[in-house]
């Protein structure tokens, strides 16, 4: 598992990277009431705004952490955005991306570094 300073987590399984937001991010955002996900098949570039989430407080963008193609999105969190608060690092993943080039996520934080980052 890798983490970004934008509070996303990335998990690589057989060359497909699953992306979600961390429990810390979900906690900071508060109750999430709206999620808009990209369409499957979208080619994304690192730092593209690919997801919009709105909590009871405000709207936030989730940026693509790597280049690649969106191969699957989690419609369950669109139907029930509260799932993101309940299980942000498990069932409430956001999208799966097929990386354009391997190794792009290697530079991101490991768990210990992320924990240190959020203090």
């Amino acid at each position: 598992m890798k983490y970004t300073e934008e509070h996303e987590w990335l998990e690589d399984a057989d060359g497909i990277v699953t992306v979600g937001i961390t429990a810390h991010a979900a906690e900071q955002l508060g109750d999430i009431v709206f999620v808009e996900l990209p369409e499957v098949g979208t080619e994304v570039t690192k730092d593209d705004e690919v997801v919009v989430i709105e909590s009871v407080k405000a709207a936030s963008d989730i940026l693509a952490p790597i280049d690649g193609e969106i191969v699957e999105v989690n419609e369950a969190i669109v139907e029930d955005p509260a799932k993101v608060n309940e299980d942000p690092e498990g069932a409430a993943w956001f999208f799966k991306v097929k990386p354009a080039e391997p190794g792009q996520m290697d530079d991101y934080l490991d768990e210990a570094a992320y924990k240190a980052f959020i203090g």
Binding site: G30, D31, V33, F34, E36, V52, E54, V56, K57, A58, A59, V78, P81, A82, N85
Partner: protein
């Protein structure tokens, strides 16, 4: 947050795990560990306790205080009986709103509750226009709100006399060893009470109420979603010096005595515009809007009459997700011709035009004990 004022309940908020934020110069709890959504739903189901001690509390004393205050508001205060409270607004010479407020006649004096962010402006206004009235700003008092279907039982456990009160009654009552000014009113659409209490006594009352398992502390976050579901205006968002009471849909607060043909018609700042708008209708109106889909349309979202219209016709002034109605909700101003219920308008959110339908207010039915 070193320059911020703290309420008498500050230590209690910290103890309860509140997330504190700056609000109108005060350090206030925006939410507790339960979070905005659960706090909102708890208040609608049981009872919520709010610290609203940041609000301005002012007494007016002296012969003719009601008549003097009437010169600043389009409200019948001469007809405000002892033990009753009315909603009012200070108006500008142009017919805009300086602040909205509650005015209670306790029998001894008039008691005003002002928005925190406007309290100093209001006090300057009062001192300027009411030189012969004794004006006291009660900076040390606390103000608690207890709201929800369980509010009456929770407060009656401390003093059963509260059961005798009906909506907008006020009474001086003993609660947790303190003499409090209690009104049966609030800002959630629920039945409930607002309790003015000396600051040093406020923590004891709050703790006594929170000992009741039905009562949970509620932060400013849920206070906002509760009032929006109830269709109530937030000063600075839905009303301000550019909006008239009639445009804002607050004509119900202007009694017959102050209207054209009434016993004391006019005689308040901006009366020309306000009475004309009452007689002829305003050019624009505050309306409720229900966006289609789940995306909230927040404040400052421009509104269009058609999906491809070039120029906006209005703007959202408040918007959020409604936890009880389980969908997004907004309020905003639109031209009167587009204000009819069922009219489809388009809000531009992140570059996309999304449909929203003009809907009756409140979004969630109110349950005042009339």
């Amino acid at each position: 947050m070193s320059n911020l004022k703290r309420t008498a309940l500050h230590d209690l908020h910290i103890e309860l795990g509140a997330k504190m934020v700056p609000f109108a110069g005060w350090e206030m709890p925006v939410q507790y560990p339960a979070g905005v959504m659960k706090e909102h739903l708890h208040c609608r189901a049981k009872a919520g306790l709010f610290d609203v001690s940041h609000m301005g509390q002012v007494t007016l004393r002296g012969n003719g205080a009601s008549e003097a205050l009437e010169r600043l508001v389009p409200v019948d205060l001469a007809g405000l009986a002892p033990g009753r409270q009315r909603y009012a607004m200070f108006t500008t010479e142009d017919g805009g709103i300086i602040d909205d407020l509650m005015v209670a006649n306790t029998g001894e004096h008039l008691f005003l509750v002002l928005n925190a962010a406007r309290a100093e402006v209001d006090l300057d206004h009062l001192h300027e226009h009411l030189p012969d009235v004794e004006i006291s700003h009660l900076r040390g008092r606390g103000l608690l709100a207890l709201q929800g279907p369980g509010a009456e039982d929770a407060l009656a456990a401390l003093n059963p006399a509260v059961r005798e009160m009906r909506f907008m009654d006020v009474a001086a009552l003993e609660l947790a060893g303190a003499t409090c000014w209690v009104s049966r009113s609030g800002y959630t659409g629920e039945d409930g009470f607002e309790i003015s209490i000396p600051g040093t006594m406020a923590p004891r009352l709050a703790r006594a109420l929170l000992e009741n398992p039905e009562v949970a502390p509620i932060g400013l976050g849920a206070r906002d979603s509760l009032r929006l579901e109830a269709g109530l205006c937030l000063y600075g968002s839905d009303i301000d010096e550019t909006t008239s009471p009639v445009e804002a849909g607050l004509s119900w607060a202007i009694q017959k005595a102050r209207r054209t043909g009434g016993a004391r018609a006019g005689g308040f700042p901006g009366a020309d515009r306000i009475l004309r708008e009452l007689d002829e209708g305003p050019d624009r109106r505050r309306v409720g809007l229900l966006p289609e889909g789940r995306a909230p349309m927040r404040a400052h979202t421009p509104l269009f009459s058609a999906e491809d219209a070039a120029e906006p016709v209005g703007e959202i002034t408040s918007g959020a997700f409604g936890p009880s109605i389980e969908r997004p909700m907004s309020m905003g101003y639109v031209p009167t011709a587009l204000a009819a219920e069922g009219t489809t308008l388009w809000g531009e959110v992140r570059g996309k035009r999304l449909a929203a339908t003009v809907a009756p207010l409140p979004f969630h039915p109110t349950s005042y004990k009339r």
